[in-house]
Symmetry: C2
Subunit: 207 residues, 2 copies
Amino acid sequence: MKKPFKKLDDSQQYHILTTAMAEFSAHGYKNASTNRIVGAAGISKGLLYYYFENKETLYLSTAEFAYDHFTTHLLSRFTTEAEGFIERLARLSKLKHLYFTQHPEIARFVTHMYYAEGLLERYQSKMQTLREWSMKSMYENVDMTLFRTDIDREMAMKMIGWTFEGYIKEMEQYFEAEGIDFDQVDTYFEQFDGYLDTMRKLYYKEV
Amino acid sequence: MKKPFKKLDDSQQYHILTTAMAEFSAHGYKNASTNRIVGAAGISKGLLYYYFENKETLYLSTAEFAYDHFTTHLLSRFTTEAEGFIERLARLSKLKHLYFTQHPEIARFVTHMYYAEGLLERYQSKMQTLREWSMKSMYENVDMTLFRTDIDREMAMKMIGWTFEGYIKEMEQYFEAEGIDFDQVDTYFEQFDGYLDTMRKLYYKEV
DNA sequence: CTTTACTTTGACCACTCTGGTCAACTTAAT
DNA sequence: ATTAAGTTGACCAGAGTGGTCAAAGTAAAG
């Protein structure tokens, strides 16, 4: 990353970097095309190389930006208040979902980083931190005594997690296919709360 | 597909077609490389074009073979006997899992076909049949009265499905990372049955 | 042996796309 | 008018593409 790029508007930096992220997550580092990036970003080839020394630097700058953005916008915004496991995961899921709709390219690129191998080795310790954070944020200060005692807790937690994953995935597929209709975003949250109630009935002790 | 290819051993046909499938599912039709295919299959470039008129025909032959193989090996092998929803889905999952371990390239290519758009339009009616079959095989002759009455059935079925998906996905990731150890395949099935018991406890009426 | 028909090879072709450069041009500030 | 920063797109060498084809190999028949 050269100095001229740092002098740009934040919004223009964001624009270029997220465009690059979309390309990188879609095709991986090697098969990503700088030509497509400049095309999609609406800048000339020369300008891209006026901003970045080469493809590799662009990729690494992109990774750094994504990591920082993700951590400051998502991790810092999350508190571990006392609550049940289902409520905890619900809050986490909503946060993730919100971040995904507001910054889809970054979110997708972060998951790409999560699994990518190759250039991102310098980030693997950071990724490890991420993994540990997601562990901690799932369990810390969670009241496990709410679970009914006749079923295995490990299993229960796994199944609850899979339920959230499945529901979110289904919603994403639905919105991707049909387009987001804001009337239906309401029913989306109603349904979500419905699942929450059901899960409490299934996994928690009777009151 | 030309006549010389049809004269080959079944095993050699299978070998070439599955190699092509791996390439196609990994990179999609357009970015798949015939050079990589011949390299991985261990045949010369000329021979591939002695067997197939061009890349497109290779792709379509591949699709036809995959579809036929999948339907005859999986669909035909499945019966809709009377049972509960959990047991039905467990059988379906085990079948899928078995097919996936025995014919991974075909399985992956079929999922590729499921979502691919472009050349496979002639197959979309067949894909629709597949979709209908998977609906039918999930519900036909299933005893729904086993469910407890205080939770929504639709939700219950969804959540059960997500649990199976999640468990299978986790197992695949584990086996991919650690390699398949046959001692652990046993514990795999024990665990699976454990989840079945738990699910019955969660979703079925008490006996 | 020779001939004939079927297989198989890999060098080769024209073409597209790649990451990256750079002289020329525009814009803004002095 | 001068200088410096910003921006363009034609251009390059190289890699990889789908596809061809003369040549070589193989096996059976006469």
